[in-house]
Symmetry: C2
DNA sequence: TCTTATCTGATAGTTTTTTTCATTTAGTTT
DNA sequence: AAACTAAATGAAAAAAACTATCAGATAAGA
């Protein structure tokens, strides 16, 4: 934990930004909730517990900053809110997500399944890939029994 | 064109919806701009040219309806606006997008590259896939010469 | 024609995010 | 250490995108 906070502190100062108390509190919340896909509002409420004087605008600003530095990733699951997640340490690429159309739960695929495909795309489409986003929409293992016809769910909340 | 409008008319009436003049104008705009990834506002302005009396709310309602019926797809490229695109006729799955971090242009990959990967995911993660979203972020062929270090672009507008 | 349900436009309201601006903080220079 | 400067913050207003409400229009069926 302390190591990661320190690492981020260095990333910030490398770009002439300071790790202010507000930023540190925000970073800590993000690290503590690494699995959670928090919205800005979620982060705000959690940070308030440690640093009650913080303003929502600062949280937004900090999230934007951390995202610019690729410390965190912005996510969009189609519910009208931007969500944030820690970038796995040293991860070259973003991992993948499984979104259940029935219960809304988001699971993770931590391995990178796209490497062979990316090679093809780079060549065939002359596109130099920096990152990717891959999301599967469907029925998670927990909802398998409940959902009769998955096709029926197609229109639901997919962006 | 007429064939496609008619086809949609049937899809609508199959679910007890009518192809009203407003809906038809909206559908035609979407077909005419199939490549364009229009936002609701974009669609509104274009529809206004044919049917000046239409209201923004109706456009939103129509887009939502067409999306529910899987006539169109909702897209999100991380700029805070939902975009819409026609679903390729008879396409089982969504196609893929190439987003240039330099110029913002969005190109299409019309073939489905994910079939083999989906088989693995379905088995290994017990997840029944209905649809997917795959976006590659990087440097398009047009910007290749302009951009020195693609890594520098990482933080830009990616969701 | 009458009835009923659907659909629409205008507008008000929400929600999420961004901007503004005066104040505070922290580092730097004298 | 005082003065200076730039960065950062909180509060609040504003913007942007979307959603809900509601009275009136439209259209399909009895």
């Amino acid at each position: 934990m302390e190591k990661r906070v320190n690492q981020i502190k260095q990333q910030l100062s490398a770009h002439n930004y300071k790790l202010t108390p507000q930023r540190e509190a925000t970073v800590r919340v993000l690290i503590e909730n690494e699995e959670a896909h928090l919205s800005a509002e979620d982060v705000y409420l959690l940070v308030k517990e440690k640093a009650p004087e913080i303003g929502l605008a600062t949280v937004y600003r900090t999230l934007e900053l951390l995202s610019d530095l690729s410390v965190i990733h912005k996510l969009n699951f189609g519910d009208g809110v931007t969500r944030y997640e820690f970038r796995a340490e040293g991860a070259e690429h973003h991992h993948h997500h499984l979104i259940c159309l029935n219960c809304g739960e988001v699971d993770e695929i931590m391995e990178d399944l796209l490497t062979p495909i990316e090679a093809r795309v780079e060549e065939e489409y002359e596109f130099q890939i920096v990152d990717h986003r891959l999301t599967f929409h469907g029925v998670c293992r927990r909802c398998k029994e409940v959902v009769a016809d998955p096709k029926k769910l197609v229109g639901a909340r997919v962006t």
